[in-house]
């Protein structure tokens, strides 16, 4: 297990480094020189050259990359060429909002998927099980931002029970914070819950056919007891993998949902950065999101090994 962990960690770190090269190379293709853009068309060549020196963009690309990536490792994302403010604090401010959004969405998805999926599997021969399968199939077809718009229509326009957008920090008012996040959480969670329900159902169906479950029942445990004790822990293995992949999907979904609900998260920051041609900001946010996806995959792989004794 330790050897596996070390190997997997090495792959993670190498992947993050290569991803850094890719992101940097991509952004280096961006047309226009940051110094020229900052100074405008009427700037003298001397002024541009001086600003280039100040930004450090006059150095070779390789040097700039190591400077940028070396900074990232120490938590320094550089200083924006456009706004002259450090990028790191902007990202860390927004990261918390997006993390809360994603985790809340995940909780909603789990709360929906685990009971419904298990129910649909146990009752796979009766109509209600089939209805759950059909509803989850329909849910998969709805993108999170569309779910968001529908939820706004029902809960904000019609019922006027919840705000249609905006974000209130927790420190300002915990109650309002909760109200401002309920619909975004539901938008992300309902759709992912529909996807997850299918996986939970098929995972539980698979373990229901296993010999050990029959043995447990033969030993006198009831069907429900056997499923709880032996079935669900085994069904959890494939579900955890999907959950990890979904977390990555949720992270991206959050970018769009933040736009629907005007939530100041990483997605909002990224899109504003692109609009303002803020190179370092876009580079930093993309890097954080990609590193998060890689980290999630790492945690999933390790969890998978921990849960499945056969892999140890």
């Amino acid at each position: 297990m330790t050897l596996y962990l070390v190997k997997r960690l090495a792959v993670l770190l190498a992947s993050i480094a290569v991803a850094g090269v890719v992101v940097f190379a991509f952004m280096a293709l961006l047309p226009g020189d940051p110094a020229e853009i900052a100074l405008g068309v009427n700037a003298t060549p001397d002024a541009v050259a001086q600003l280039r020196r100040q930004f450090g963009t006059d150095r070779p690309a390789v040097v700039q990359f190591f400077d940028w990536f070396g900074g990232l490792v120490q938590g320094d994302f550089g200083t924006s060429y456009v706004t002259s403010s450090p990028v790191g604090p902007q990202i860390s401010d927004r990261l918390g909002v997006t993390a809360v959004l994603v985790l809340g969405g995940m909780v909603v998805a789990l709360v929906i998927a685990v009971p419904l999926g298990t129910f649909a599997a146990v009752h796979h021969r009766n109509p209600l099980g089939a209805v759950i399968s059909a509803v989850s199939q329909a849910g998969i077809a709805v993108p999170a931002f569309l779910a968001g718009i529908l939820l706004v229509f029902v809960f904000a326009v019609q019922a006027q029970a919840l705000p249609s957008g905006g974000y209130v920090p927790f420190a300002e008012s915990p109650g309002e914070w909760l109200r401002s996040l309920l619909l975004p959480w539901l938008s992300l969670g309902l759709v992912q819950g529909a996807v997850l329900t299918r996986y939970v159902r098929s995972a539980v169906l698979d373990v229901m056919r296993e010999d050990y479950l029959r043995t447990a029942r033969a030993k006198g445990r009831g069907s429900t007891g056997a499923l709880w004790r032996h079935g669900l822990p085994n069904a959890a293995i494939p579900v955890v993998t999907v959950l990890g992949l979904q977390l990555a999907t949720l992270l991206v979904g959050a970018v769009v949902v933040e736009r629907v609900f005007v939530i100041p998260g990483l997605g909002d920051l990224l899109l504003n950065g692109v609009a303002g041609r803020d190179l370092l900001l876009v580079q930093g946010v993309v890097m954080v999101l990609v590193a998060a996806v890689l980290l999630i995959n790492f945690v999933v792989d390790v969890t998978y090994h921990l849960l499945d004794p056969r892999l140890r």
Partner: protein
């Protein structure tokens, strides 16, 4: 004919058929010019030649939906095409040489690309080359490559241990010939299913990108942008969000059902397993 028609195949096929028909018909006929702006028809209610009404610029919603179907299919076909053309051969190579360095390299690069979701790629591409249908298609296509490569690799691994591959190798056939003559035809059903599922994902991605302004540029109609434009009018004219939303959901549902249906139809073994389960 390998299997029986099933409900998924029929319903999915019908939904996809409607989208394809609407897209094809839009080349020859739409009730009105979908891009024609007319202040007099602003937010016109449905009826009187305007089946689903008009939007805030007076453009006919039904005509926009028809041409939007074209955009959706166009993006889906090109994106899935890119993913299949790059991903499937890579997966076959990796599957035919499972212990080689090439296989290892392909799968590691695959994992790396997997870390760049379509939306991030599209935003990055959009920042560099300007957002538009082309950058969206390329981003969605590249982001879908890993899915094809993984599926093709897994299917190839299964095919490689069969007797007919052994026979072909014993007969002295070279690897490229085996790949083209024996592996590809035998994994084609898996790839077709993957294409259908990927198409559904591509539609979702295109809609999300257009919604964010990183997809199809105005005035070309797109379901995602129709939704984005309708959002500010949700309080007064919710029907503007209803139709493109419904179109996206039904198209995605159609391709998902078609994928599931095709899987059952093309793989009799799987159907038997399901029937037993």
């Amino acid at each position: 004919m390998r299997g029986r028609l099933n409900a998924g195949l029929l319903v999915g096929g019908a939904l996809v058929g409607i989208v394809v028909l609407a897209a094809l018909a839009s080349f020859f006929w739409t009730p009105h010019d979908p891009t024609f702006v007319d202040a007099a028809r602003k937010l016109r209610e449905p009826g009187g030649g305007y089946l689903l009404g008009a939007d805030k610029y007076g453009r006919d919603t039904f005509s926009q939906l028809m041409v939007g179907a074209r955009t959706t299919l166009y993006v889906g076909i090109v994106a899935v095409g890119i993913a299949a053309v790059i991903g499937a051969p890579l997966g076959v190579i990796a599957g035919m040489t499972p212990r080689g360095w090439l296989s290892e390299l392909i799968m590691r690069v695959n994992d790396l690309v997997f870390a760049f979701p379509a939306l991030l790629l599209a935003v990055m591409l959009g920042a560099v080359y300007g957002a538009g249908t082309l950058t969206a298609m390329i981003a969605i296509g590249v982001a879908t490559v890993p899915a094809f490569a993984r599926v093709a690799r897994a299917a190839t691994l299964q095919v490689m241990v069969t007797d007919y591959i052994l026979a072909a190798r014993a007969a002295g056939r070279r690897r490229p010939a085996i790949a083209v003559r024996h592996v590809l035809p035998n994994i084609s059903s898996v790839l077709i299913v993957q294409a259908s599922v990927s198409f559904a994902i591509a539609i979702l991605a295109e809609a999300a990108l257009s919604f964010l302004g990183f997809g199809t540029r105005p005035p070309t109609p797109s379901w995602g942008r129709m939704l984005q434009e309708s959002q500010e009018l949700l309080f007064s004219t919710p029907r503007l969000a209803l139709w493109p939303g419904l179109a996206i959901a039904l198209a995605v549902l159609g391709f998902n059902l078609l994928g599931d249906g095709l899987r059952d139809f093309l793989d009799p073994k799987l159907r038997r397993i399901r029937a037993e389960g």
